[in-house]
Amino acid sequence: MSHISPVLWQFLVKWLTNFALFPPEASKIAPQMDALYFFMVLVSLVGLTIVVLLIVGFSILYSKKRHPEAVQIEGSTLLEATWTIIPLGLFLIMFVWGALLYFRIYTPPANAMNIYVVGKQWMWKAEHPGGQHEIDSLHVPTGQPVQLTLISQDVFHSFSIPAFRVKREAIPGRYSSVWFEATTPGTYHLFCTQYCGTNHSQMIGEVVVMTPDDFRKWLQGSTSGHSLAQDGERLFASLSCNACHNPRPDARGPNLVGVYGSRLTLSTGQTVTVDDAYLRQAILNPSQNITQGYAPIMPTYQGQISEEGVFALVEYLKNLQSDYRIQQTLNTTVLPANSEGNAAGQAPAAQKAGGQGEVQQ
């Protein structure tokens, strides 16, 4: 006992001095979240107090000693209506308030800076547009909305920053996103909160919030020499995407300049807005959404590009505003058409036969 108690004592002192009921509020959304949270705590406390008061009060007033004979009562519609409508009203307020927050957290503003995050068993990899890579940490500036585009390489993970009050699942096979605007410089916890196998509890890291100046310095200090978009460009050439996607009149694929953010009409007649998720889908499962007027000849790159590679391509396509460089690569390297080492690729004959661009169900 005697050797335990000093330790325990230290603990308690430390804990009591740092006692907290909620984590630091380090993002713009945090105080808003806490407002709703404390509203709910308040309602719960009031509700609980009422329930406890009723039970204790009645127990004292109508205990058998004081009140030996029970008086039978059927019920009271008025009372029952009261305690149906008041909780319902309060719950609806919570619903609306909660929904507003939810939409705010999951709707990034247009000027947000994008960081890509890959989750995999059991680490987080972040890719900044400038080409900085991080593992199990995330550096962000204050005063700047940051959007995270998340994906998982294997199972569900969940990217959680309690101090920001945001959290989003990293889903295998699909992009998800979340945004925040950090307000207070400091180092905060980063957790994987979705159970993801053995080392789930080791899939942690830190979020470092810096002033914009410090952040700029950090960016410069940890650059890898080329930006994410440049990586993407290199991939675009080496995977010979430009064999089909080029500005030539006889190109077999659509020109991808400015495709990001545009609206496409699919062969099913639907229209879609091209966003990150759509680009990823178009690269990995091209035949699922066929752009109107084109044949489904684009090969799939599933299993050939890592999620980081896809991020690079997406970032590249996002910033692709002119044909100039594609033209350049085409002129310097002569690329055989459809040469993506896809051993089990389609038979050429089948591709010819696939000249069907018709509009159909």
Partner: protein, 251 residues
């Protein structure tokens, strides 16, 4: 569902002072017993609906996503065998309904005949299913075990189906989704066949008991309840047939 006590012949069910021997001790009347077991059977069928409900949900979602793959997948199924099997099952449902009628009318011969017919039709159904499954095996269309998506990357390699539908070759990523179709095909028809097997086993048991006159002396609860089960299995097929064979034939 109901008890399997031997039945004494000639007990007058309308007389309530004497309990017929098939009445379980905790029921007040035979009517109550019939009602209770019948209701229980219906509830059991509800659970069955939900059981298949999960599969239907999965099917609808994936079909929505991978329609072209589902089209080529369903081209691999034979409408002929599918229709034949539907017919077989509908007729077996009819003979089952007739079994109940015969039991109600206390016609032992008729009951036996109808039960045996149902039994045979059930076996025929499974036989046909077996033929279809065998064909899938031969053509490497059993997902996970014996599978190749050759026929969808290059439909011409499968001349029979190609001659009929002239399928375009699917892009490799879409072609790989046909495996999902076959996974669902086997999961759904497999679950259904499992129910058929159970049904046929019970039918066999009933035939043996019907020979002793068990169901033709007024106590036909078991036949009636089994009939409900059989018809339910029929209904499942009535939905599986269009879902798997019919609705995804056109690109």
């Amino acid at each position: 569902m109901s008890d399997s006590t031997a039945t004494a012949n000639g007990v007058e069910t309308e007389v309530h002072h004497e309990h017929p021997s098939y009445q379980r001790h905790h029921f007040e009347t035979v009517a109550q017993q019939f009602d209770a077991t019948n209701f229980a059977m219906w509830l059991f069928l509800l659970t069955e609906i939900m059981f298949f409900g999960g599969l239907f949900t999965a099917y609808l979602i994936l079909r929505n996503w991978y329609y072209p793959a589902f089209v080529e997948g369903s081209h691999q199924l034979s409408i002929f065998w599918g229709t034949a099997n539907t017919t077989v099952l509908i007729i077996s449902s009819f003979t089952m309904a007739m079994s109940v009628w015969n039991a109600q009318m206390r016609r032992k011969g008729g009951l036996l005949l109808c039960l045996v017919l149902t039994f045979i039709l059930g076996l025929v159904f499974l036989g046909i299913k077996g033929i279809e499954w065998h064909e899938k095996w031969v053509k490497y269309h059993v997902p996970g075990l014996h599978y190749s998506d050759q026929s969808f990357r290059n439909p011409a390699s499968d001349p029979e189906v190609y001659a009929e539908y002239h399928d375009k070759s699917l892009a490799p990523d879409m072609a790989s989704k046909v495996e999902q179709y076959f996974f669902l095909y086997f999961a759904m028809t497999g679950m259904h066949a499992l129910h058929m097997v159970i049904g046929i086993a019970i039918l066999g048991f009933m035939i043996v008991r019907a020979k002793t006159g068990a169901y033709t002396s007024g106590h036909y609860t078991f036949v009636e309840n089994f009939g409900l089960y059989w018809h339910f299995v029929d209904i499942i097929w009535i939905f599986l047939f269009p879902l798997l064979y019919l609705i995804s034939r056109h690109q």
